[in-house]
């Protein structure tokens, strides 16, 4: 497994030396950072890129708290700004709780309209959408070169209150059901700020589970760390028999590759691993790649209500290289590239 990554500027410079034209796929969102990669890297060099598409993910109607009006207003502002560039398509949309059929229809359209080299910007996509689309893209031989972009929050970081609420019961992420007949004695959890139905996930997965292993995000930053430990505390309430202190690791918040490597290590002394990507998006990416490599299930408790101030401002963008010249990263020896 080898997953090169780095600042968007650096990695783009390297891949563009190959003379490739990358299409772009992102998500129009209420978050400012949905325009981060576009405005810093794509629009200034527009001619170097191929078709650019932004998908709108529609909220559910009956979430609580109901922030729809604010979310829509903010999204409309971003959409307007994006459309002003004149070169980005924003007419695709899908429901947050879209079925696999609807996701497949979207994926089929994208496969027909994006080029062989594509950048998928996961910054603002909900997990159940980007995980599905990335799976379709990575496993399709039409796509030779795939980059994943992620833009962090701005200097003001994340909202101090709940980021997301009103979770649905725990379910597998579309396309990542694994094989329910296979045993998994380990749950690997990428820890986030919200416990969001995690408890229900643990209860659901109970049969045969012996360990919960947790990856927390590094660096330790006061409130971020406190919130993650709070999540762990809520998780273990009433369930102490599963968690051992040695099963908690800290990984760089950006480090998808290290997440993958950690999962390989955990899997080596487990009888099957079930994944719970509740942490950072790069950690979710690492889990996704592992899940594709070994056909592991990924579970999530989809929140239905998002805080309009989920993130504020736009941070730096990072790129990851999960597929290059037709070879997916988990088939790539560490020494290669």
């Amino acid at each position: 497994m080898r997953l090169p990554s780095g600042s968007a500027e650096t990695l783009l410079r390297e891949v563009q030396k190959e003379g490739l034209t990358f299409s772009y796929l992102g998500c129009v969102s209420f978050e400012d950072r949905c325009r981060g990669f576009l405005e810093r890297h794509l629009l200034p060099e527009r001619s170097a890129f191929g078709p650019a598409k932004m998908i709108t993910v529609r909220e559910v109607d009956d979430a609580f708290p109901d922030y729809r009006a604010t979310l829509r207003r903010k999204r409309a502002q971003h959409s307007k700004a994006i459309l002003r560039s004149g070169s980005i398509e924003c007419d695709l949309s899908i429901d947050l709780l879209a079925s696999e059929d609807e996701l497949l229809d979207l994926a089929d359209h994208l496969k027909a309209t994006l080029g062989a080299s594509v950048i998928v910007d996961i910054s603002c996509f909900p997990r159940r959408v980007f995980c599905f689309l990335l799976k379709q893209i990575l496993l399709d031989s039409r796509f030779e070169n795939v980059l994943v972009a992620y833009t962090g929050a701005g200097p003001q970081g994340y909202a101090s209150g709940h980021l997301a609420e009103d979770p649905l019961p725990c379910d597998y992420l579309p396309g990542f059901a694994g094989n329910p007949l296979a045993t998994a004695d380990t749950i690997a959890l990428a820890c986030g700020f919200e416990s969001l139905g995690l408890g229900s996930f643990i209860d659901l997965s109970r049969e045969g589970v012996r360990h919960i292993r947790i990856a927390m995000a590094f660096p330790p930053n006061g409130s971020n760390t406190r919130r993650q430990w709070n999540t762990v505390r809520q998780l273990v309430q009433g369930r102490s028999m599963l968690l051992d202190g040695s099963d908690i690791v800290a990984l760089g918040a950006w480090d998808a590759e290290e997440m993958y490597i950690t999962l390989v290590r955990w899997a080596s002394d487990s009888d099957g691993v079930a994944l719970a990507p509740f942490g950072t998006k790069p950690h979710s990416l690492g889990m996704l790649l592992f899940a594709l490599a070994v056909d592991a299930p990924m579970y999530y408790c989809q929140p239905r209500s998002y805080n309009p101030d989920y993130t504020r401002g736009t941070g730096e963008s990072r790129l990851y290289l999960p597929k290059w010249q037709g070879v997916v990263c988990w088939e790539r020896p560490r020494a290669a590239l």
């Binding site: 696999e100 979770p167 990542f176 919200e194 659901l204 997965s205 369930r239």
Partner: protein, 681 residues
């Protein structure tokens, strides 16, 4: 903290208060499960009938249903092939199970099989595919059961069920493989392993399709789709025909435990109810040899009772029997109260013995928490009678002076003084003169049984408030009341109290009971945990949290700040059935309240209207465990607040800023007014 005390903290025997983990380990389950008490009340579950076992979260449904599984039941069977009391007269059966969420049953309909295989969407065809999946999954479970029962581990079960050793013969395998329902799918199978491999291949094909890993369903699966329930019937008939040990075969029905049925609509918003109808069809079939046992939260059953592809419905008592654990454990009759007490004592004792390895007698468990007496609690708030004038607040000075000087209230306990004050205030509010009140004092009218009893809880909370202290929650009896008949909550309280005690260096099993202060801290911790858990973990919990927070605060202000304690019963609210069922808003309110009951956030009871109109009504209270969070009484007395559906709808779905005002009961003279919405008095 000394090492031994640290050990006590680490060895908190109640720490795993979510009991679900032990369900998966038969031996542990055998040690922990209080079968004598719980099973005794739910014996229909063990009979050859379809059963829907209802109850709020944490009441113990899964614990009961788990006992049906062959691997678990085996642990109970003695060397003599008999089950212990109260199961000793239960007729043999083979129990298998399916957890619908765990096997991703909710996936059906999200990727349409019919669309891919026929070119058009056909929900009936998709339902057939879902039914086929269930048929084959349960077949796999039965094959695993046969393998288990045929081996050494199944010896006691074979003895109980009168099945001969080595019963899995080539003949039996071929009989299974060639059942007409399979349409030849298992034709090539000669051994149990072959059958298991083949069924897992089929299930794998469904999984891969739902996972979008394959484009189409393999032809050998597609062309052999089964009808819902048909294979199970044939398999169950084969069970009856298994070779016997001795004598004649009695019946050997197949019991199928279905779990997570109620989650399907949430997990598959478009097709979830269709999937429920697939299961309903199997129940409706009223198969004479296959019986379904479904566990569902109280109000999650009954929302979709149609069968697949038709409008006919599963009918209570005809197609299935409901068993309501909430009713069994929460009734106010003495029997139910005793039942829960026995269950709690038994469960706690098992935990102490098996998890904590403590040597404690079962009947000594209540002594860990000690007794509670109302006057004793009152004296914790007010030891000093010089402060009694504070308890007589709002009374006219003349009356207060008379009570202190002439009537000598200082010789009484603080609770009585507070209630004297409340009684007097009530008289004043009704326009009675001070002189008349003074004349009645020697009769001590506040001591009339019901008047006193209805106001004790609020009186104590008021004492705590006046003394600027947090209320106490302690004693075995209080702990049971706060549990509200819910065994998970009971264990949570025990866990938090134990933790609090050991944190402060106190031995929970010392001769003296755990100090009331420590118990109170533990109870408050448990209350917050239960409240927060619903918010974080459960569908709809966020809104419930919001509504309950407002409601709890409202009750506190309304009741505890009412120094006259005029309406002690108004810790709950009542709605009429006709309003609830007669409008769209009523249905929305009912659904919200039903969900809150299912998740043990509210408690519900039916009651008769006191309005003289003969209408049937229901009343709801915050679950007892939430009372400490809002400092409201957890005991239920007298009449609740009579409100309208309009008010509740606004309260739940609106801003909730409108005060929840009681509808005045029409007096016999009919002169009293009904207060309009929004008006306070």
């Amino acid at each position: 903290m000394s090492q031994s005390k640290r050990d006590d903290r680490v060895r908190n025997p109640f720490h795993d208060w979510l009991t679900s983990e032990m369900i998966e380990e038969p031996k542990l389950y055998r040690k922990m499960f209080s079968q004598q008490i719980l099973v005794g009340e739910t014996l229909e579950v063990f009979q050859p009938i379809n059963v829907v076992l209802l109850g709020a979260q944490g009441m113990g449904k899964s614990m009961v249903l788990n006992l049906l599984r062959y691997s678990v039941l085996t642990e109970w069977i003695g060397q003599n092939g008999r089950l212990p009391h109260p199961l000793k007269n239960v007729q043999p059966f083979v129990g298998i199970s399916i957890n619908l969420s765990r096997v991703n049953f909710q996936a059906f309909g999200r990727r349409s099989v019919s669309r891919v295989m026929t070119g058009r969407d056909d929900s009936m065809l998709d339902a057939v595919c879902a039914g086929d999946f269930v048929n084959h999954y349960l077949t796999r479970e039965l094959l695993r059961a046969l393998a288990f029962l045929n081996g050494e581990a199944g010896e006691r079960f074979r003895l109980w069920a009168n099945i001969a050793d080595g019963f899995v013969t080539e003949g039996v395998v071929r009989s299974i493989a060639t059942l007409p329902s399979w349409f030849g799918y298992y034709e090539s199978c000669a051994t149990l392993v072959d059958l298991t491999t083949r069924v897992e291949e089929r299930l794998g094909a469904w999984f891969r399709f739902q996972n979008t890993n394959i484009e189409r369903i393999p032809e050998d699966v597609w062309s052999t789709k089964t009808n819902p329930g048909a294979p199970l019937h044939e398999l169950a008939n084969l069970l009856r025909a298994l070779p016997v040990r001795k004598g004649q075969r009695r019946e050997l029905p197949l019991f199928v435990v279905v779990d997570q049925y109620e989650e399907l609509p949430a997990l598959n918003q478009r097709y979830g109810t269709e999937l429920q109808r697939v299961i309903n069809s199997m129940i409706k079939a009223r198969d004479p040899v296959v019986f379904f046992k479904i566990g569902a939260r109280t109000y999650d059953w009954g929302r979709e009772i149609r069968v697949s592809g038709a409008q006919s419905r599963v009918e209570v008592r005809r197609d299935y029997v409901p068993v309501n654990l909430s009713e069994v454990l929460m009734r106010r009759e003495h029997f139910s109260i005793k039942l829960f007490e026995d269950l709690a004592k038994d469960v706690a004792h098992r935990r102490l013995k098996e998890k904590g390895h403590y040597r404690v007698k079962r009947d000594s468990v209540p002594a860990i928490f000690g007794n509670w007496e109302e006057v004793e609690e009152a004296l914790r708030y007010f030891k000093d009678s010089e402060r009694y004038p504070e308890l007589l607040r709002l009374l006219p000075r003349r009356l207060r002076r008379a009570l202190l000087d002439e009537y000598e209230v200082k010789s009484k306990d603080p609770l009585e003084v507070r209630l004297i004050g409340a009684w007097c205030l009530q008289r004043i509010k009704r326009g009675e003169r001070v002189s008349s009140i003074l004349q009645r004092l020697p009769d001590e009218p506040w001591k009339s049984k019901w008047w006193w009893k209805e106001r004790v809880a609020i009186g104590l909370l008021q004492l705590a408030s006046i003394a600027n202290q947090r209320p106490y929650y302690y004693g075995w009896k209080s702990l049971l009341e706060l549990s509200g008949g819910n065994i998970a909550i009971f264990l949570l309280i025990c866990s938090e109290v134990w933790d609090e005690a050991t944190k402060r260096g106190f031995d929970p099993l010392a001769k003296a009971a755990i100090k009331p202060l420590l118990q109170s801290e533990g109870v408050r911790g448990a209350s917050e945990i239960w409240r927060t858990r619903d918010r974080e973990d459960k569908l709809g919990g966020r809104r419930r949290y919001e509504v309950v927070s407002r409601f709890g605060a409202f009750i506190h202000e309304y009741l505890v700040r009412d120094w006259a304690i005029s309406n002690p019963g108004h810790s709950g609210f009542s709605l009429s059935d006709s309003e609830l069922f007669g409008s769209a808003k009523g249905q929305e309110v009912l659904e919200f309240l039903g969900n809150a009951v299912s998740w043990s956030i509210l408690e519900e009871r039916r009651h008769k209207s006191k309005q003289g109109d003969g209408s049937t009504r229901r009343k709801w209270y915050l679950h007892a465990i939430l009372s400490p969070s809002f400092v409201i009484p957890h005991t239920r007395v007298k009449e609740p607040l009579y409100v309208s559906v309009e008010q509740m709808h606004e309260w739940i779905f609106g801003s909730g800023g409108t005060p929840l005002v009681p509808r005045r009961r029409p007096s016999r003279s009919g002169n009293q007014l009904t207060l309009p919405l929004g008006e306070t008095k």
